[in-house]
């Protein structure tokens, strides 16, 4: 996984609250393998009309923001479906960081697994940033994960990120490598748990005690 330390790039504003993962990557593109690259279908139905032509008023279609590496979003960015491919689509397009007042929980988890920074700011700071970009679209934005700061024009402010996620992004760590060092603890837990909660294992369906097999009963 790529590390994230700091980035200076153009930033594209999406002033849409509850921008869900169905918008980021419409469901019909979920069949595509990651190797196909999902950048071309990012936000497909908002970027393109029914005939596949670009909607000129959509922010990402405007010349200043085509090559944006940062997105500034509104509240509840990435809510909805758990589809990790929504994160793949952002990354494959070239986006490395989303700044917003809040994120969908599952989206936030998927982002850190793939090296996408989700930076949480206040509603006022997000609105301020969007206003600045609206006035001067090509303004570069610098986001520094070590310092936890965002700079744009003469404005500078902090952002919030979970400290574990920050460490993982700064180092490019993936969680599996971390878990590998706990395999003995997992094995010990499994044994103890089996004794403590023997009922938690799926019962074998071949063993029936005659108290009523409801396999054909939906009610």
């Amino acid at each position: 996984m790529d590390k994230f330390i700091r980035l200076t790039a153009t930033a594209c504003p999406f002033d849409v609250a509850n921008l869900n993962t169905d918008q980021l990557l419409p469901a019909r593109f979920l069949k595509l393998p990651r190797s196909a690259g999902l950048g071309a279908v990012l936000l497909h139905d908002l970027r393109f009309d029914a005939d596949g032509r670009e909607r000129p008023d959509f922010p990402l279609n405007q010349p200043a923001w085509r090559a944006a590496k940062i997105v500034v979003g509104a509240r509840n960015f990435g809510c909805g479906s758990s589809r990790e491919a929504a994160v793949y689509a952002l990354l494959d397009y070239g986006i490395r960081c989303v700044i917003a007042p809040s994120f969908g929980d599952i989206f936030g988890g998927n982002a850190v697994e793939n090296g996408l920074l989700t930076a949480t700011v206040s509603d006022a700071e997000a609105a301020n940033l969007m206003r600045l970009l609206g006035e001067e679209p090509r303004l570069p934005v610098t986001i520094d994960l070590e310092q936890q700061t965002i700079k744009c024009s003469d404005k500078a402010f902090g952002f919030v990120i979970d400290r574990v996620r920050r460490t993982r992004l700064l180092n490019g760590w993936d969680s599996l490598a971390l878990t590998a060092s706990y395999m003995d603890k997992i094995a010990a837990f499994k044994t103890a748990d089996r004794a403590r909660r023997p009922w938690a294992m799926p019962s074998s369906i071949s063993v029936r005690d005659g108290s009523g097999d409801k396999s054909d009963d939906a009610g």
Partner: protein, 472 residues
């Protein structure tokens, strides 16, 4: 935390799964059940790339639901892309020794219907699945939540997951539910009240007299939609309703093991005096039949209301939000909800396609004809068989509706069953997002009885007068 600290249901289930608690606040959790589906192919690809095995195939169960056809014969899948998705799941599960409820299996259905139905979902378990509506399983007192593909791969390889403990929120539903009001109405009322991000970062516990009186199926609907308020999970303390539901199901514990389980499950309820980070109360007496008008589940109003008017909205950002939603939904500000004509209906999904849901819709449709076309897709193949035994399929067909097979179907449209562009659909599903049911589709969410009422009147309508003489 001392021995005497009162604990919540969520605290107790979380603590029973903690393998490691790191100083930085993250915990490594043990996973009891892991459900996978056709959409999990990205995670299996990650496994392949690492040449890894599935750690616990006996605790992993697969269901073909997201891509399977739900209309016509399923023996041959015409669309090669969809056939490939179903085949890939068969190959991955066979390679790793995972039980698959595939297309030819009598137990096939939507994963969140099948888990409880087969007794795989039990009180006190930790359950994950690469699907946001995994919160459904919390209705039985499990801690259940949706995860992404990388996390799915992590669970496949280790049967564990790193998590930061969410905050605790209790939603108490007081009073008494009036006749003709369903769990869907309660949950839409809650989401409208707290917002689509109102529970972000929280594990919800639903409690109060109305929840205790709810059937298991109603509870599943309620917990299913927790994610639409942004919650990590929704849970209900297991009680006699839950125990009676679980007893005797194929994968549930049997004999002395069941008795032992009952003892453990009975101790799960939130202790008196346990603290929550946030408390919300609603009065069920104030809940009317609810429909959504916009493009987020939070855009929900009682059926006798009017669509909002952005011109009367003082807050500029809110006015913009309303204008965009109304524009997509092709609705004029101030329109009475009951004046909105529909083109189509859909009864299905992990939210509202269990047997009680089909009975509620059939109660309205009995002896009546739908003014619009529509599809009824049962939540599982077992639900389908039971509905047919009860003659519900004949009621739907006589009303002019299509009686289909089980799968995610027109809720997400990835099997090809979509609402055509520009059409307006009354739907028992969970998301009215732009294009959710197909590009350009306009979705109104509501309960099964309300969808049936929309079918017979051709517009959004109050189901209660049509239910006179019926008991839900």
């Amino acid at each position: 935390m001392s021995m005497n600290t009162p604990l919540t249901l969520f605290d107790k289930v979380w603590a029973a799964h903690e393998i490691v608690q790191r100083e930085d606040g993250e915990a490594l959790l043990w996973v009891d059940r892991h459900f996978v589906h056709e959409g999990s192919f990205n995670a299996f690809s990650q496994l392949k790339a690492r040449r890894a095995c599935v750690a616990e195939p006996g605790r992993t169960f697969a269901v073909a639901d997201h891509y399977v056809p739900t209309r016509g014969s399923r023996r041959v899948i015409d669309n090669p892309d969809i056939a490939r998705m179903v085949r890939t799941l068969e190959e991955n599960t066979s390679e790793h020794g995972i039980t698959l409820f595939g297309l030819d299996d009598a137990r096939q259905g939507i994963v969140h219907v099948v888990g409880p139905e087969q007794g795989l979902t039990l009180p006190g378990l930790l359950i994950v699945c690469g699907d946001s509506h995994t919160s459904t399983h919390g209705a039985l007192g499990a801690y259940a939540f949706g995860i992404g593909a990388s996390e799915v791969a992590h669970v496949l390889m280790t049967q564990t997951l790193w998590q930061r403990k969410p905050k605790r929120m209790r939603i108490t539903v007081n009073g008494r539910l009036s006749s003709g009001i369903a769990a869907k109405d309660i949950v839409l009322a809650i989401i409208a009240k707290i917002g689509a991000d109102g529970a972000t970062g929280h594990a919800i516990e639903f409690s109060g007299p109305v929840i205790r009186a709810l059937s298991m199926e109603g509870r599943l609907t309620l917990c299913n939609m927790s994610i639409e308020a942004g919650a990590r999970s929704g849970m209900i303390a297991p009680d006699e309703t839950a125990f009676a539901y679980v007893r005797g199901r194929p994968y549930a514990p049997k004999g002395p093991l069941f008795e032992q389980a009952l003892e453990a499950w009975s101790a799960l309820a939130t202790d008196e005096g346990a603290e929550f980070d946030r408390e919300v109360e609603i009065d069920a007496g104030e809940v009317a039949p609810i429909v959504t008008w916009g493009t987020s589940p939070q855009d929900a109003l009682p059926i006798d209301a009017r669509v909002p008017d952005p011109a009367r909205e003082g807050d500029a950002a809110r006015a913009k939000y309303l204008r965009e939603a109304l524009d997509y939904m092709a609705l004029k500000p101030g329109t009475k909800l009951t004046d909105i004509a529909i083109d189509r209906i859909f009864i299905g999904s992990c939210t509202n396609a269990r047997i009680e849901d089909l009975r509620a819709a059939a109660a309205v449709l009995t002896g009546r004809v739908s003014k619009v076309p529509g599809l009824v897709s049962p939540g599982s193949s077992a639900v389908k068989r039971q509905a047919e035994e009860e003659g519900l399929d004949r009621i739907f067909r006589a009303a002019g509706l299509e009686w289909g097979e089980s799968g995610c179907s027109m809720c997400v449209g990835i099997n090809g069953d979509v609402v055509p562009p520009g059409e307006r659909c009354a739907s028992t599903t969970n998301r009215n997002f732009r294009g959710r049911q197909g590009p350009g589709a306009r979705t109104h969410l509501m309960s099964p009885a309300m969808v049936a009422a929309a079918a017979v009147t051709g517009r959004l309508a109050d189901a209660r007068p049509l239910l006179a003489g019926h008991r839900l």
